[in-house]
């Protein structure tokens, strides 16, 4: 499993664009928002949490279709499916590799981008917490969407249509956590819900993704 993770990470780095592209996209979203809503700091600091979460979500979406597509095309997915480790574990490792290449850089870069959007100071901590807790769920759900569409020629747009509704709860609780944290309100409920959703998705969704891959390889 570790070997598989390292392989995916190496592929992502050497193919180029694995780390950088998601981050660049995130930066562009953050840059474009003030052009859209106007430069007043008051408005920006109110919507900063939501923009950062949306940016993270879209950046994550951008690289989803590559999770399985290349392996499907060159046949390594067939090998992985018949490998001694269960396909569910393969899927989980793929999700982890995706998170390390897109989720983690976003988590690390988010405070920097938050400065551009005048995020209120007390919200920084909760922004980090919410992204750290929430982005793994985005990657795992993304592998499910990627698994469903892996056999399709032009699955990209369909993938977004399938995956984005699944992101709704994570987005709601994640953005709410930052907002409440920033305003100094009680954060237990969104914090617990966000962590719960992520834990449950990591535990259960790989089974659905593996089932979908098996169907697609049939």
């Amino acid at each position: 499993m570790i070997a598989l993770l390292m392989r995916d990470l190496r592929l992502a780095i050497r193919a180029g664009g694995g780390f950088g592209l998601g981050l660049a996209f995130f930066l562009i979203v953050v840059t474009l928002v003030p052009f859209g809503v106007g430069p007043e700091g008051a408005i920006l600091s109110r919507i900063a949490a939501g923009i950062l979460w949306l940016g993270a979500l879209l950046a994550c979406l951008l690289s989803l279709d590559r999770i399985f597509a290349l392996d499907f095309e060159d046949g390594s997915l067939d090998l992985l499916a018949t490998a001694p480790i269960p396909l569910e574990a393969v899927v989980t490792m793929k999700a982890l590799a995706h998170w390390i290449t897109t989720g983690l850089p976003l988590v690390l870069a988010a405070p920097l981008f938050a400065v551009l959007l005048h995020l209120p100071t007390p919200a920084y901590f909760w922004l980090e917490v919410s992204l750290l807790l929430g982005t793994p769920a985005l990657s795992v759900l993304g592998t499910f969407g990627a698994a469903l569409t892996v056999g399709l020629k032009r699955g990209g747009l369909l993938l977004s249509l399938l995956v984005l509704p699944l992101y709704v709860p994570t987005l709601i609780f994640g953005a709410e956590l930052v907002r409440r944290g920033g305003e100094g309100m009680a954060v237990q409920v969104p914090l617990a819900m966000l962590a719960g959703i992520t834990a449950a998705t990591i535990a259960l969704v790989p089974f659905a993704s593996a089932a979908a891959i098996r169907v697609n390889l049939r």
Partner: protein, 242 residues
């Protein structure tokens, strides 16, 4: 008589063909009087005026928008567990009906909301979760359309339906939580049934039954169409082989 008998399409076609005229008749006999009674023979509610009429379409459509998804969930499970082919086709046939019901509920809701709340759209938890339900229907139908092999499509959409159900429910409760967090003390209550008089209640029940029968009619028709389409493609394939 068990549902497993109807895994045989021939048996299903026979029975549904026999049932269909009766169900169409029953639909007409409940839906038309229900709507006519509701629209023309109920008094105007004091605080709502004529806009109250919209509930005879809105409430049944909304009820079935949710229940059709539940029905798709059950039929998908039956397909995934027992490879019941007609069941998979029924799920496929139900999805566009459910999507239209959701759309009707959203649009009639907007007609009601405009004079009552002064807005076509409000990010109320119920409205929001219906919009999300609509998106789930869209994704489900799009996935069916995108995959060529019918068995693969049935499997994948079945899995999507299971995962989607969990997340649709989750989104519903998340939206309730989110809206409370946004504007506290929002008093938009959609629980019409709680304070509704019998004059409005009786035609409403009739329309709900009518909508239910309408759904069954459309479902049978569409499932029969799907089965015929499947037969047609099988014939074409055989011809190409020969």
């Amino acid at each position: 008589m068990s549902i497993w008998e109807y895994a045989n399409p021939v048996k299903f076609m026979q029975t549904s063909g026999w049932l269909l005229p009766w169900i169409i008749g029953a639909t007409v006999l409940t839906l038309v009087p229900g709507l006519v009674w509701g629209f023309f023979f109920t008094p105007l509610a004091a605080e709502f005026g004529a806009t109250v009429k919209v509930i005879y379409v809105h409430v049944p459509a909304a009820t079935f928008a949710i229940n059709i998804w539940v029905m798709m969930l059950v039929t998908s499970l039956i397909w995934l567990i027992r490879r019941h082919h007609v069941s998979a086709l029924a799920a496929k046939a139900a999805a566009p009906i459910g999507m239209v019901m959701t759309l009707i509920a959203l649009i009639t809701g907007a007609f009601w909301g405009q004079p009552m709340w002064g807005t076509w759209w409000e990010w109320d938890p119920r409205l929001t979760s219906f919009l999300i339900l609509f998106l789930f229907y869209l994704g489900y139908i799009a996935l069916w359309e995108a995959i060529e092999n019918p068995d693969t499509a049935a499997d994948l959409t079945g899995v999507l339906c299971l995962v989607g159900s969990v997340f649709a429910v989750l989104s519903r409760y998340a939206a309730m939580f989110w809206n409370q967090g946004l504007h506290q003390g929002s008093t938009l209550s959609l629980d019409k049934e709680e304070h509704i008089a019998d004059v409005f209640w009786q035609p409403l029940v009739l329309s709900i039954i009518g909508f239910g029968l309408l759904f069954v009619t459309l479902l049978l028709l569409r499932t029969r169409t799907e089965i015929r389409a499947r037969r047609l493609s099988a014939l074409e394939q055989r011809e190409r082989m020969a």
